[in-house]
């Protein structure tokens, strides 16, 4: 029965961790792009954009990612749209990350003093020019630590894609446990791999934050 050596376990987990990394990258980058678009709609003038984004954020932050993945994969299938698992996983994770990133970035943009908007408009700049040259360069700087911090959530969030058949790190852990009956070794290794993926991210987020605070104090 037990043909797995510890090395086999680790090797299989590491192979599966490639998917975790790939899914994380896709959802983080894609989520960033969608999130940026939503951000513009959210802080822009007009009615529809902000309302839509608010509802969007409410929906994606108010329901478990697990359910979102399930409905994205199978729900669309019900309507005859055959989405492959990687696409469904990618899309659901992207939409989910976008909801969180938009909110994080909105906070950053809103933390830029009103005076910056007023000074730049009194110099004759239009909305896009203000965003491009005055607001975003400042907001981006303060947005880096919380954004990197959120990437940790993305890495952990990819664990849920197993519901639609993805064999990433967590799922591989379950499968290997079922084949070996060694939950402690396997989950211990799984936790360790996650930690190795996530800790550098949280750490750099903290360091960046500290740097930023020091920089701020000089103002």
């Amino acid at each position: 029965m037990n043909e797995f050596t510890t090395w086999d376990i680790l090797r299989n987990l590491l192979l599966a961790a490639r998917w975790t990394v790939l899914l994380s990258l896709v959802s983080f980058i894609g989520g960033g792009l969608v999130g940026a678009a939503l951000l513009f709609a959210r802080i822009g003038k007009g009615r529809i954009g902000p309302t839509f984004v608010k509802a969007y954020v409410e929906l994606f932050q108010g329901t478990p990612l697990l359910m979102q993945l399930f409905l994205a994969f199978f729900g669309l299938g019900l309507f005859g749209v055959d989405v492959p698992a990687w696409l469904a996983a990618g899309v659901a994770l992207i939409l989910w990350s976008a909801a969180f990133l938009t909110e994080i970035w909105r906070g950053c943009v809103e933390s830029i003093a009103r005076g910056q908007w007023e000074a730049s408009s009194s110099l004759g700049m239009g909305y896009l020019q203000q965003m491009r040259h005055v607001i975003l360069p400042q907001a981006l700087r303060i947005a880096v630590p919380p954004t990197v911090g959120f990437s940790v959530q993305v890495v952990k969030g990819t664990a849920l894609t197993s519901i639609i058949g993805f064999v990433e790190l967590s799922k591989a852990g379950t499968i290997v446990t079922n084949a070996t009956f060694e939950p402690f070794t396997v989950y211990g290794l799984v936790a360790l791999i996650y930690f190795c993926l996530c800790w550098p991210l949280s750490r750099s987020s903290q360091i960046l934050e500290r740097k930023l605070n020091v920089a701020h104090r000089n103002h």
Partner: protein, 242 residues
């Protein structure tokens, strides 16, 4: 002919009528000081002239052009009228020089070399030629405010609006900023400034506007207004201040 014509301007925030029908004409080259108690609507008036707040009634025209609240007209207006704020509002991520260059390049599409030359000139003019590459947080408050003035001047406005531009400064830094303003006034720039520096108002301004509860309560040349306040409100205001 007036450069800035303010006619029956009213402005409400919700139920609070902050400007209750303001009439002021400013001739080219005039230096107008606006004084008055906190909350009397001084800042709101300047912000309306610059289009940062939309007015509810009345009209404002600058150099003959009516102020209309659409992007295009606003931009045209703001090219004519510069504004300087109490909090400087320099862009913290850009050097002093870049602060002055930015709007020329972005708004007027001035080529970089030319914008840079202009920035150098304007920083020289406010006595900060050597600070071209300094970031705002490396400058004192007085220096920051002078950069802000240079930034506004670089757009070559025909008038400047100044809202308590020395109030956020430590006392010893006030004079360096006022000196720059005085020089501008001497060179014929049209200025409207909210200020608490009564002595400066008396020395430099051609007219003083005393605002009270959203109205122009008294208006006249400084000798008259300061030496001979007619209304009890102005008397009290000057009494408290001096």
């Amino acid at each position: 002919m007036s450069l800035i014509e303010i006619t029956e301007v009213k402005k409400r925030f919700g139920d609070n009528e902050v400007l209750k029908g303001i009439n002021i004409d400013v001739a080219p080259g005039e230096v107008v000081a606006i004084i008055g108690r906190s909350g009397s609507g001084k800042s709101t008036l300047l912000r309306c002239i610059n289009g940062l707040e939309a007015i509810d009634e009345g009209s404002i025209s600058v150099a003959g052009a009516q102020l209309l609240p659409d992007e295009l007209h606003l931009k045209a207006l703001r090219l004519k009228v510069g504004m300087i704020f109490q909090q400087f509002n320099l862009f913290p991520h850009l050097t002093a020089g870049r602060n002055v260059m930015l709007s020329q390049m972005v708004v007027k599409k001035t080529p970089k070399a030319q914008a840079e030359a202009m920035a150098k000139t304007m920083l020289e003019r406010v006595g900060l030629g050597h600070k071209f590459d300094a970031y705002p947080d490396q400058l004192s408050g007085g220096q920051q405010q002078r950069v802000a003035i240079a930034r506004a001047l670089a757009m070559q406005p025909i008038a400047l609006l100044c809202d308590e531009i020395t109030s956020a400064l430590d006392p010893e830094l006030v004079s360096e900023v006022l000196a720059v303003v005085k020089e501008l006034a001497g060179e014929g720039m049209t200025l409207m400034m909210v200020t608490h520096e009564m002595r400066f108002a008396r020395d430099v301004c051609s007219r003083v506007v005393f605002m009270h509860q959203g109205r122009v309560h008294e208006i006249g040349p400084p000798e008259e207004v300061f030496a001979n306040p007619k209304t009890p409100e102005l008397q009290q205001f000057l009494g408290v201040t001096h």
